[in-house]
């Protein structure tokens, strides 16, 4: 008898009209893209220079470091953890790198200094992961601790002096770049590609999402939470080191305050990009759009020429942008709320 029965499930429900469309509208990316385009149009009308290649080249260069680190932090958030120590880590790595390779300091060769910096970043990341997974200290606590501790350590290492005179080759690569493409952009493209492949095509990426979706089920499926967490934190540490290497030489000098509020920026990009704070869900495209949007705000304000008094509202406008970005899609979600579901991220 049962062979005659149609399959249960979807066939039972009348197809909902416009399901596809509503799904598209509900995606965070749509809202972000809309916001970016709209802003560009408005600013473009006010001052067409804003849409010039040079301006966007600079904006993309600024995006690069954030995008690189956001790729890592996004994976951390996807596994249900969080990392708010990237800014301090960046400062520490910049200090150590500066000490090692700057002409005024130990003047070690770049060929040793840069791999060493990458290694140190990865190592600290893995150490964080260790505390989180083996020590079972909640990641917010570990990284909150590191946020303060590493900042102090950086000040100690810098000893009140700034470091400049990084090797000429490195600063040239960072500023002018290879064939006109700055180093940070190259690195960002590489990292984005790598992360995207990791997420979509490598078993490991899948498992990160699985772990974030349900730690208990992951345990039952025999996944090793310890290894996965070591990986994401290590990866984030590595990417932070990479971002430091490609971005810091662009700056005039290395000082103890480098990367201040960077963690906040990265986390903002990750959550505005639609990654679920509770883990298990998040798309790279959303995060990248959010990075562009958040980086755009400062130049937008400059090009809108809001005047001296207006400049003091900068932060307020930044806050409004964040809200706007997340409210657009939750506005569409509103109709669909049901059964006391969890918060949208």
């Amino acid at each position: 008898m049962s062979n005659l029965l149609p399959p249960i499930g979807h066939a039972l429900r009348p197809a909902r009209f416009g399901v596809r469309f509503s799904k598209l509208v509900r995606q965070r990316e749509t809202g972000l893209l809309l916001l970016i385009v709209l802003t560009c149009v408005v600013v473009g009308i006010k001052d067409i220079h804003f849409l010039s290649c040079e301006v966007w080249r600079e904006i993309l260069v600024r995006c690069a470091a954030t995008a690189i680190v956001a790729c890592g932090v996004m994976l951390v958030v996807v596994t249900g953890e969080i990392d708010i120590s990237v800014g301090s880590l960046m400062a520490l790595l910049a200090a150590v790198m500066g000490r090692m390779i700057s002409e005024h300091e130990w003047d070690i060769s770049c060929w040793i200094g840069i791999p060493a910096t990458l290694g140190l970043g990865t190592l600290i990341g893995v150490f964080t992961g260790c505390l989180v997974s083996v020590g079972r200290v909640p990641s917010i606590i570990v990284t909150l601790g590191l946020l303060t501790a590493l900042r102090g350590l950086t000040t100690l290492i810098m000893g009140g002096q700034n470091i400049d005179r990084l090797p000429e080759g490195l600063t040239q690569l960072a500023k002018q770049g290879l064939c006109g493409v700055p180093l940070s952009i190259l690195a960002a493209v590489g990292v984005i590609g790598l992360t995207s492949v990791l997420i979509h095509h490598i078993p490991l990426g899948r498992r990160l999402y699985a772990l974030g979706s349900s730690a208990e089920s992951a345990r039952m499926a025999g996944l090793s939470a310890v290894r996965l967490k070591l990986f994401v934190f290590g990866y984030t540490g590595f990417l932070t080191a990479l971002a430091t290497i490609v971005d810091v030489p662009r700056l005039p000098k290395i000082e103890a305050g480098i990367g201040s509020e960077f963690e906040l920026l990265v986390i903002t990009c990750v959550v505005v990009g639609g990654v679920a704070i509770s883990g298990g869900h998040g798309r790279l495209s959303g995060v990248l759009l959010a990075v562009v949007l958040m980086t755009m705000i400062r130049p937008v304000l400059t090009f809108m020429d809001i005047g001296e008094a207006g400049e003091k509202w900068t932060r307020a406008i930044q806050g409004m942008f964040i809200l706007l970005a997340v409210v657009t899609d939750s506005f569409f979600l509103r109709r669909q709320r049901s059964s006391g579901g969890e918060h949208t991220a």
Binding site: G80, P138, T148, L264, I267, V271, K312, A316, A345
Partner: protein
């Protein structure tokens, strides 16, 4: 952040965290008392405690917020905005009462906006308060144009500088409130509901708990407390400016999670928060007075946070079956 369903058991001792933090606090006090002369003198302790109270008041609200699995990153910025409103109203009307009331009201409004966005639009608290963290500070900066208001008179500053049997007035205010919050948390239905929401919001809703309404008032309360903290801060320094309360949010969260309130919600109490606050405060005093090095203070506080929770995990948690 995902480990909500940890099994407890019949004979477990549920105060491990408080014990660990308490012991650490004692160790710090003893070491400091031994190494820094006069460290334990009640007079100096009370005098130096004045930097604690604003944090402590904020921490009460933050404990409740974190208990429900939320977070409020905007408290520092709310303080800034409240302070600016205080300054504006005071300079334009000359009335301290009106200014104080509008300061508190601003705090409440800021909190209510957070609460409204979180409960009505169902946005994650982290996102909302990350946005208002920037927005409130920005509004304060824009409104005041970066200027500061000061000279509110000695009457007003005695609100923060006065004392009651040697205890600074803000301390007295805090103690009363702390007792109130502790009773609220452990002995009233709403306190129990907060924990329920923190553990499992969905089930809380199915149990008839008005999750959204509680959320709303929770964040509003947190804002109100920020307004109060701002008032005390302004009174203490006799200055109201947009940068009041900068960086407070992270310090407060540090104290609360150090005090054992679970960041994923459901677990935590006022005693723990109090111990967390004291531990951080005393450690900072000790490092600052013994080594005279601010950067070392950062390092020590950061490591302390990690080590304390690690110690708790090692001592109180049995290895997984």
């Amino acid at each position: 952040m995902n480990s909500k369903s940890q099994a407890g058991n019949a004979f477990s001792f549920s105060w491990w965290h408080e014990t660990v933090i308490g012991v650490l606090l004692l160790v710090v006090l003893l070491v400091a008392g031994w190494l820094v002369p006069g460290f334990l003198k009640p007079h100096s302790q009370l005098l130096l405690s004045r930097h604690l109270w604003e944090f402590a008041i904020l921490a009460l609200g933050m404990t409740l917020v974190i208990l429900t699995g939320g977070i409020d990153l905007s408290v520092g910025s709310t303080m800034g905005l409240s302070a600016v409103v205080f300054g504006c109203v005071q300079t334009s009307t000359g009335s301290l009462v009106a200014a104080s009331l509008s300061c508190l009201a601003t705090g409440l409004c800021c909190g209510a906006v957070n609460g409204g966005l979180i409960s009505q639009l169902r946005l994650h608290p982290l996102i909302v308060t990350l946005a208002t963290f920037a927005a409130y500070r920005g509004i304060a900066e824009g409104w005041s144009q970066g200027n500061s208001y000061s000279r509110f008179g000695t009457n007003f500053s005695s609100l923060a500088r006065g004392s009651w049997f040697g205890v600074p007035l803000p301390g007295v205010i805090f103690c009363v409130m702390a007792i109130g919050f502790a009773v609220f948390l452990s002995n009233t239905p709403n306190g129990r509901f907060l924990k329920a929401i923190g553990h499992n919001e969905r089930a809380a809703k199915f149990s008839g708990i008005a999750v959204e309404r509680i959320r709303f008032w929770l964040y509003a309360t947190s804002g109100l407390l920020a307004g109060l903290a701002s008032l005390i801060y302004v009174a203490r320094f006799d200055t109201a400016k947009a940068d009041v309360g900068k960086g407070f949010e992270l310090d407060v969260i540090t104290a609360v999670v150090l005090g054992g309130t679970s960041i994923s919600g459901g677990r935590g109490n006022i005693l723990g928060t109090l111990l967390g606050l004291l531990l951080i405060h005393e450690t900072r005093l000790f490092v600052s007075r013994y080594w005279r090095s601010d950067e070392l203070q950062w390092i020590v506080i950061g490591s302390l946070l990690i080590l304390a929770v690690l110690a708790y995990q090692l001592i109180a948690r049995k290895p997984r079956s």
